[in-house]
């Protein structure tokens, strides 16, 4: 109850975090999201799904946009309204060749290709945009 009241006082629920593109920092992004989503009283199940999805998307940035170079930067923007949660992941790495980002068929047993499924499980809208300098993956979860 108290949390909810305070929530209304805080007019803008925007937050962001920027960390190096080293996998050791992925746990920081997860805890950032977990704390944030708990503060605004989101259900545990949704919190877990969003944590997994953003973690996968950031792992993909390290793998594909940065080709495992660990001294670059990943930025995660978060915003909340009673209608939706928006997460934007920004990197300054390579533009992808193919924008389809297909995960593998889940019934085809092989390692890999699961990340996109986690992303689609947590989010209702997924939009990828590349500009000259940055790639942005915008993900929206309806509430």
């Amino acid at each position: 109850m108290k949390q909810k009241k305070n929530l209304q006082n805080a007019l803008n629920h925007r937050a962001s975090i920027e960390v190096p593109s080293h996998p050791m920092y992925l746990s920081m992004i997860r805890i950032f999201l977990e704390k944030l989503l708990k503060l605004i009283d989101i259900q545990t199940l949704i919190i877990e799904d969003i944590k997994s999805a953003v973690d996968e998307a950031c792992s993909n940035v390290i793998k594909y946009a940065y080709k495992y170079s660990y001294d670059k930067t990943i930025k995660v923007y978060f915003s909340y309204s009673p209608k939706e949660i928006v997460v934007i992941i920004e990197d300054y790495g390579e533009k992808p060749q193919d924008l389809s980002f297909q995960g593998r068929d889940l019934l085809d047993l092989k390692p890999g290709g699961l990340g996109m499924h986690f992303i689609k499980k947590a989010f209702d809208e997924i939009v990828f945009k590349s500009s000259k300098k940055t790639n942005k993956l915008k993900m929206v979860r309806y509430l």
């Binding site: 050791m24 047993l109 092989k110 390692p111 699961l114 990340g115 499924h117 986690f118």
Partner: protein, 109 residues
């Protein structure tokens, strides 16, 4: 993440503790591929203390499973938290892996 290893006759038990993600899964992979190389007949991965697993952790387990199938070894998972269980079922892997309630069940099962 930390991994504790325990060997019993034909069984190797790998108990993982912490979060399995892109940063930590290589450590799990190292131990699993070692077990495959050693052709250990039964490998149990105890996930009791694992609060989080990502697709790289799952990929690692799938890779080990395929490696063990080649010599007819058996890879068992046990003590999955609710969240980890949900992830396995979402990934349609709850039917692919032998999953046990706890370490005791996995050892005798």
């Amino acid at each position: 993440m930390e991994i504790k290893i325990e060997d019993q006759k034909n069984i190797r038990i790998l108990s993982a503790m912490g979060e399995v993600d892109m940063h930590t899964s290589p450590e799990l992979r190292k131990h699993l591929l070692k077990a495959v190389k050693d052709k250990i007949p039964i490998v149990i991965v105890d996930l009791k203390e694992v609060s989080y697993i990502d697709s790289s952790g799952i990929a690692t387990l799938v890779e080990a499973l395929k490696g063990m199938m080649k010599y007819k070894g058996s890879l068992k998972l046990c003590s999955l938290s609710e969240r980890v269980k949900e992830i396995f079922s979402f990934a349609k892997l709850d039917k692919v892996f032998e999953i046990y309630k706890d370490l005791q069940d996995a050892t005798i099962g």
